[in-house]
């Protein structure tokens, strides 16, 4: 069996996993993101919150190579990745989930997980001769068990319930053992009873994942209880600017945040 490569071997000791500096993006006259800077440490769960239109999605899309920022830099493991596209970012160890379900409906759950990591194995040419499961079967099974989706492992992903598909969707982002996973509203559209389950899973994936080592996450989410419970640190954005960065307790106690966003 081949192993996913260690993405972060070049990172200098003690330096952040992700470093965003002075990121700016404008759409015409509207400054969607106006000079945002923050760092994510290895093993950290970093939350991004803010009202609608605060620039969270633009920030996320810039970090994922979907859009080019006007100014600023994004460093991953000390390497400037500002200009890289989604494919290159994934190959460098960035996984992601989308706000809406994005599973491959006609493939089985297990195949969804395998395709999520197979391109990290060998070269395109060598993959012609690779086994059907690319040697990733054991890894897929470990994640299937961790996500408690064993009973549906061989069903087509498109035939599952919304909640089950959401779990498959999240599991896919972890298959290639990324250093950093960006989660775009993981609770969107999810039954409240599953929200707790997702939170538990993400904590597990952060501290003792079934495959690979500790993961770092950046989470955008509207569900405040979820973010406060899950994240180690939280960044609050308002009108494209960083209003505050701190632990959940610090954010809860921050007067400005309460006034501008939480409205309590």
């Amino acid at each position: 069996m081949t192993h996913a490569r260690n993405h972060n071997h070049d990172r200098p000791e003690g330096s952040p996993l992700l470093k965003v500096s002075g990121l700016k993006k404008a759409y015409g006259a509207i400054q969607a993101v106006g000079g945002v800077s923050f760092e994510v440490q290895p093993g950290e769960i970093f939350g991004v919150i803010g009202p609608n239109g605060s620039g969270k999605t633009t920030l996320f899309n810039s970090m994922l190579g979907q859009i080019r920022p006007d100014a600023g830099t994004i460093e991953l493991n000390g390497e400037d990745v500002t200009r890289l596209g989604p494919l290159e970012l994934n190959r460098r160890g960035v996984g992601r989930t989308f706000q809406t379900l994005q599973v491959f409906g006609k493939m089985s759950v297990r195949d969804n997980l395998i395709v999520a990591a197979q391109e990290h194995q060998g070269s395109m040419f060598s993959r012609i001769f690779a086994p059907t499961d690319s040697g990733l079967g054991a890894k897929a099974d470990a994640l299937i068990d961790q996500f408690r989706i064993r009973p549906v492992a061989h069903q087509k992903a498109g035939e599952l319930s919304y909640g089950q598909q959401k779990l498959v969707d999240i599991a896919m982002a972890f298959m290639s053992e990324p250093d950093l996973v960006l989660l775009d509203e993981p609770c969107a559209g999810v039954n409240p009873s599953l929200v707790g389950g997702i939170s538990r899973l993400l904590k597990e994936l952060n501290s003792k994942p079934a495959i690979g080592s500790t993961r770092s996450f950046v989470v955008i989410e509207h569900n405040m209880d979820f973010v406060m419970d899950l994240c180690h640190r939280i960044m609050v954005m308002v009108e494209g600017q960083v209003l505050a960065i701190g632990t959940p307790a610090e954010i809860r106690a921050n007067r400005q945040v309460l006034d501008a966003y939480l409205g309590e």
Binding site: N90, G95, F104, M107, V115, Q118, R127, I128, S134
Partner: protein, 328 residues
């Protein structure tokens, strides 16, 4: 593969091996014609059915393959060099045609490939020095293998059958591995695929190139089968017909082209009894299939399975509701 599917496959193979013994010359010729179109549409099924790239230019590759073999044979080059050359040239041209697919999709891509087909067809028709223009190229020889001539229709049938089986095995091996999953991922959700490290650019180009190479081989076999080629069979109409074969058989189903090509090649022959009405009947059959079986003939087992599953699920729910009612 399930045992029943394997049994069915072996039975089909047996029929393919034995059937020509009971057929007249024209029947054998027609079966060979069908095999040639199975090969061509296997390629198109990869491009359209597995990778989701709407190509209406497949007949152009079929033609490039046919003309390559015919021209090389006339130049004294062996068929055994001509056929790989046809595949290679189509592979390269396929990559080039794949580039528009990196920019446009769906109906826009279909029109781009349709334009390509027209351009290639015009070259075949107008460049008389190379292609013989509307007069075409005649007296195209059939090859011999290990000294045995394939001139007879029966011999050429078995040769084409072996080629079809080899190419099917090759494609099967490719599609059941990582490449097959990557093509399917590209078709179902290219943005998600890219976010998982699937090089969607490379797979898009490859889906065109490999599909084109299959059409090239089919074209080469076609040239030696009919022994006379002119631009007619490689026009846009043929591309649309091949696309129809893929859709009717079931895009993304491995054996779809076998049934699709049967509908496209054999059905019109069976409908000859209808004489002047045959095209009308064929048209009606196609319309009805598009209405009731938009995912093709091979989607029937899946549909039955899905129906059975939903019935089972509703029965389970009803029982659970009944049990809950009894308790209360």
């Amino acid at each position: 593969m399930k045992k029943s599917a394997l049994g069915l496959g072996l039975l089909a193979l047996l029929v393919l091996l034995v059937a020509p013994q009971f057929l007249k010359n024209y029947g054998i010729y027609l079966l060979t014609y069908w095999l040639v179109f199975i090969i061509a549409t296997m390629g198109l099924n990869l491009t359209v059915g597995y990778a989701g790239q709407k190509s209406l230019g497949h007949a152009a590759f079929f033609g490039i393959g046919a003309y390559t073999v015919a021209i090389l044979l006339k130049a004294g080059v062996s068929f055994w060099l001509g056929l790989p050359a046809a595949a290679l040239i189509c592979f390269v041209v396929g990559i080039i045609l794949g580039f528009p697919a990196l920019r446009v999709q769906t109906i826009y891509l279909a029109f781009a490939t349709l334009g390509f087909n027209t351009a290639v067809w015009l070259v075949m028709r107008n460049e008389e020095w190379l292609t013989g223009g509307t007069f075409g190229i005649n007296n195209i020889a059939r090859p011999s293998v290990f000294g045995a001539s394939l001139d007879g229709n029966l011999a050429y049938y078995y040769f084409t059958l072996v080629m079809a089986l080899l190419l099917a095995a090759l494609l099967w091996g490719l599609l059941r591995g990582p490449w097959g999953k990557a093509f399917t991922a590209l078709r179902d959700n290219p943005i998600r695929a890219e976010s998982l490290g699937v090089d969607t650019r490379a797979y898009t180009l490859l889906s065109f190139a490999i599909g084109a190479a299959y059409a090239g081989v089919a074209g080469g076999l076609f040239a030696s089968l009919v022994q006379y080629i002119e631009p007619g069979p490689f026009a846009v109409g043929s591309s649309i017909m091949m696309y129809l074969m893929v859709v009717v058989g079931g895009p993304g189903y491995f054996f779809g082209p076998v049934l699709g090509a049967a509908v496209g090649v054999l059905l019109p022959e069976w409908l000859r009894f209808a004489q002047a009405w045959y095209l009308f009947v064929f048209g009606v059959v196609v319309v009805l299939m598009m209405i009731w079986l938009p995912d093709g003939l091979l989607s029937i087992p899946d549909r039955i399975r899905a129906r059975k599953q939903s019935r089972l699920a509703s029965e389970t729910r009803a029982k659970a509701a009944q049990a809950a009612g009894a308790k209360a």
